[in-house]
């Protein structure tokens, strides 16, 4: 027997309080009030068992005060009684454990990682020590000393005085991506599958525990105190509640009782680990290790965090999804599948469904709400209102509308511009002017985003002066944009404000009015494949409506054929298509061609000439003319045939082909080949003689 402690080297010795190695020692154990010892053993084991469960909670929530207190109380109680019974080893271990837990209780130390392991070890060692006392007591023989106790006590001291550094706790060597705790335990060979199943069963059939049991598990009262209280209750004939009796017996405080009662009322459902530990199937320490495995894997608990992903990778993923969709549709529409079994058809349907879902998911990955952009506008409005001395009531609607990230990033500047315009030009000059016009002092500017018919609309509406049609027209005539005597629709007139250098502001302020802006706004919006439209009523206000595609990755395209080639024309830029008659086409100096439709005239371009396509239809009378509009300019484009309209995923042609005129990009066609998207502006530039305003001039001719 090794000497461990200075005062009493081991439990047997301390019990006997006689010299070491004496055969009389066992007898002394029994003499040392066996009744009291038995009670202590039972109580201590119960405390320790509960402590296990609480340490598990600490493992998951290191700052859980209730659990730390419970474990602290367990050791505290054991220490007290052990001291009384002169079980020095137990007392020493309890004392050191108590010190560590006390620090944790005061928040001076976080019980995590190897510290928790140490507490588990203390509990386990304590259990063994007590079981030894029990054996010594029942078999009436000398006790064995606990190996390694000295070391454990020292380590506990080191934790308390801060010389043992904190490290991550030991985890099970089990792959546990998103596994449940039961699986991890079984995989780790720590629990039998049947035991886990039984525990799961009891988890579901679990009933709220009785108040007394709960109090015992919280180490507030002992079982004997509970028995005593129950006996009192029985004597009273159940007149008093158990809690009352316990308080009157001084076993518990009202505070404890109330807390436990409230716990009791919570839907029970103990954790699986707790049940397994209680049933003695698995050691609490092992459950803790399993929990660490489980928590070490991201995605099991806090997977809702946003993950930053490289945009290029995201695009690659979306590309691949697009390919999958194409490959899937090619396979499922292949001729070989005609007459396939019902089963195969069903399986293909399933595959189809999954692919579509994946595609939707892919598209949604790039979508972000416009809220942040709108919030930025609120700030600007506030600043502007102050600067201009106007009163502005700014309303935003539909902030949760989701747009492609690129659109959200790029729409900010045009929006700032338009909001400024709405306040500076749109609203009346002063609150007084508004009152005079019979309006509320504060001008109302509304910024809203909404979904409508497969597009997203962003609208800026003000209840100010409205656009003055005549002023705009006069200005346009002055600048030569519109000729005398030419009649324009309201919409055409309002659209003149987007012309470069066009400003109707009589006074240039530092906010707006220099005439640079609206043309930039329109270019930006068209760059996002959007359209901008104005509605206005003089004296009532204006509505600027921006229509944007849901996503930049997909466009509606008209597939056209020229010779053996197929091209895609963005549907957005097609005004209409006509089958020309001889009278529609006018040749100028046998070089340029003009298309004359009703009273309008457009330059006519032949795609096959521009792109040098062989075996295309040369006779315009057998071909189709698409009338296209881009940046306010209208042109006719001769193609052989319209093949149909479809949604097309846009791809870049890559760096090597950048700057290729006439081609805006590529698209993957439903058959997996590449289609080229026509750049309407680029084509006009290729011909070279089309300056800005050509469309207007030709229509005026």
């Amino acid at each position: 027997m090794r000497r461990i402690f200075a005062r009493n080297r081991c439990v047997a010795g301390s019990l006997a309080r006689v010299g070491e190695g004496s055969p009389a020692r066992a007898a002394t154990v029994l003499e040392g009030d066996p009744e009291l010892l038995r009670e202590f053993i039972a109580e201590a084991l119960e405390h320790l068992h509960n402590a296990d469960v609480h340490i598990l909670t600490i493992e998951m929530r290191p700052r859980d005060a209730d659990s730390i207190n419970a474990v602290f109380r367990a050791f505290h109680t054991i220490k007290g009684v052990a001291g009384f019974l002169a079980l020095d080893e137990i007392q020493a271990l309890a004392h050191e454990s108590e010190n560590v837990l006390d620090l944790a209780r005061k928040g001076e130390l976080e019980l995590a990682g190897n510290y928790v392991d140490l507490v588990f070890e203390a509990v386990d060692t304590m259990k063994r020590l007590i079981q030894r006392v029990e054996r010594a007591l029942s078999k009436n023989e000398p006790m064995q000393c606990e190996e390694g106790l000295e070391n454990l006590v020292r380590r506990l001291q080191n934790v308390a005085n801060g010389t043992l550094s904190q490290q991550p706790g030991s985890a099970l060597d089990v792959q546990a991506s998103g596994k449940r705790i039961g699986e991890i335990l079984v995989d780790g060979g720590l629990a039998r599958r049947s035991a886990v199943m039984a525990a799961l069963e009891s988890q579901h059939t679990h009933e709220p525990s009785l108040l007394g049991e709960q109090l015992i598990s919280e180490i507030i009262i002992t079982r004997s105190q509970l028995d005593q209280a129950l006996a009192v209750q029985a004597q009273d004939g159940g007149a008093r509640k158990l809690g009352e009796i316990l308080v009157s017996l001084g076993a518990a405080t009202w505070e404890d009782i109330n807390r436990v009662v409230s716990l009791q009322q919570e839907p029970a459902g103990e954790r699986l680990g707790t049940i397994l530990v209680r049933s003695g199937e698995v050691a609490a320490k092992d459950v803790a290790r399993a929990l660490r495995v489980q928590q070490a894997k991201p995605g099991t608990t806090e997977a809702r965090d946003a993950i930053k992903v490289d945009a290029e990778r995201l695009d690659q993923l979306i590309d691949l999804i697009g390919e999958l969709v194409i490959a899937e549709s090619m396979v499922s529409q292949s001729v070989e599948l005609k007459g396939a079994s019902q089963k195969l058809v069903r399986q293909f349907n399933q595959l189809d469904k999954i692919t579509r879902e994946l595609q939707e998911m892919g598209t949604s990955l790039r979508m972000v709400p416009i809220r942040a952009t709108f919030q930025k506008m609120s700030r600007i409005v506030r600043d502007l209102a102050k600067k201009t001395g106007k009163k502005v009531e700014f309303i935003t609607e539909g902030e949760d509308t989701e747009l492609d990230k690129t659109v959200v990033d790029q729409i900010g500047d045009p929006l700032i511009h338009m909001v400024r315009n709405a306040i500076d030009h749109g609203l009346e000059a002063s609150p007084e002017a508004r009152t005079a016009a019979g309006k509320a002092e504060a001008g109302r500017v509304t910024l809203r985003a909404l979904h409508k018919g497969g597009s997203i609309y962003i609208e800026i509406q003000d209840d100010g002066r409205g656009l003055n049609r005549d002023v705009i027209l006069a200005k346009a005539r002055e600048r030569g944009l519109v000729r005398e005597g030419e009649s324009l629709s309201d919409r055409e007139i309002y659209n003149l404000v987007f012309e470069p250098g066009f400003s109707t502001a009589k006074q240039v302020t530092d906010i707006s009015g220099r005439g640079v802006g609206m043309d930039v706004v329109r270019r930006n919006i068209e760059g996002l494949r959007g359209q901008i439209d104005i509605q206005s009523e003089l004296g009532k206000g204006s509505l600027f409506s921006i229509r944007l595609p849901l996503t930049l990755a997909i466009i509606d395209g008209m597939v056209v054929r020229v010779g053996n080639e197929r091209y895609i024309v963005p549907t957005l830029s097609i005004i209409r298509s006509i089958k020309p008659m001889a009278s529609n086409i006018v040749t100028i100096a046998s070089r340029g061609e003009l298309l004359v439709v009703q009273n309008d005239m457009f330059p006519l371009f032949r795609l096959h000439t521009i792109f040098d396509i062989v075996n295309a239809e040369k006779d315009p009378l057998n071909a189709i003319v698409l009338i296209l509009e881009n940046e306010g300019r209208r042109v006719g484009l001769l193609v052989d045939e319209l093949l149909g309209q479809q949604q097309i995923v846009i791809k870049s042609l890559g760096d090597s082909m950048r700057g290729l005129e006439g081609v805006a990009g590529a698209a993957i066609m439903p058959d997996g080949t590449v289609g080229l998207i026509i750049d309407v502006n680029g084509i006009a530039r290729l011909i070279g003689d089309v300056g800005p305003g050509y469309g207007n001039q030709s229509s005026a001719a």
């Binding site: 521009i610 792109f611 040098d612 042609l653 760096d655 090597s656 082909m657 590529a666 993957i668 590449v674």
Partner: protein, 188 residues
């Protein structure tokens, strides 16, 4: 031009001018560093090699979409698993005679270093042969043909047994400014 190269390579044992020897000495270090594995392919009877590290994959011929207003040796673009990449006809680039595609015609997808970043593109070749390990002592510098023949894009000449392989510097063969340069003959 390719034939001429080959002829020159065959005559490698013959007289090498003094100037030639000097250029060998100059290029000694870089030449030795060019030893390695090359993917060889055929254009007619000529054998060419591409550094294996430049090669991404070899794919069968697939429908190619013509792109207007590009140099004549650009056959068009293909869809490589969702990525649109240009494909180049090496025959046309080397001004060899046109030949109809066969079963053996295929596309070697390579990574070409351009000014800013790597560009992926396909090269249409008659047939892919094998991967050859070319050691430093099997390497000869690119021969000089005098005026008019550009040998800039030749890394060297490799001798593997009886075969003579023209090792191409793919970054230079298809220097990237070229593809986007509008071919004026087409635009007219």
């Amino acid at each position: 031009m390719g034939r001429a190269l080959q002829r020159a390579a065959e005559a490698k044992d013959g007289q090498m001018g003094n100037a030639m020897v000097e250029s060998v000495l100059d290029g000694e270090v870089s030449l030795a560093s060019r030893a390695g594995q090359y993917l060889t392919f055929l254009l007619g009877a000529e054998i060419y090699g591409l550094a294996i590290l430049k090669v991404q994959e070899i794919i069968g011929l697939m429908p190619v979409t013509k792109v207007p207003r590009t140099p004549h040796y650009v056959r068009g673009v293909i869809n490589l698993r969702g990525k649109v990449i240009p494909v180049v006809e090496l025959r046309t680039k080397f001004e060899m005679e046109q030949r109809a595609d066969t079963n053996m015609t295929c596309i070697i997808v390579v990574q070409v270093a351009s000014s800013a970043k790597n560009v992926t593109l396909g090269i249409i070749v008659d047939e892919v042969a094998e991967v050859l390990a070319i050691t430093a002592d099997q390497l000869e510098p690119a021969p000089s043909f005098g005026n008019g023949v550009n040998t800039e894009f030749i890394l060297g000449i490799g001798k593997a047994g009886a075969k003579v392989v023209v090792l191409l510097d793919v970054d230079r063969v298809l220097s990237w400014g070229e593809l986007s340069a509008v071919d004026q003959t087409i635009a007219s």
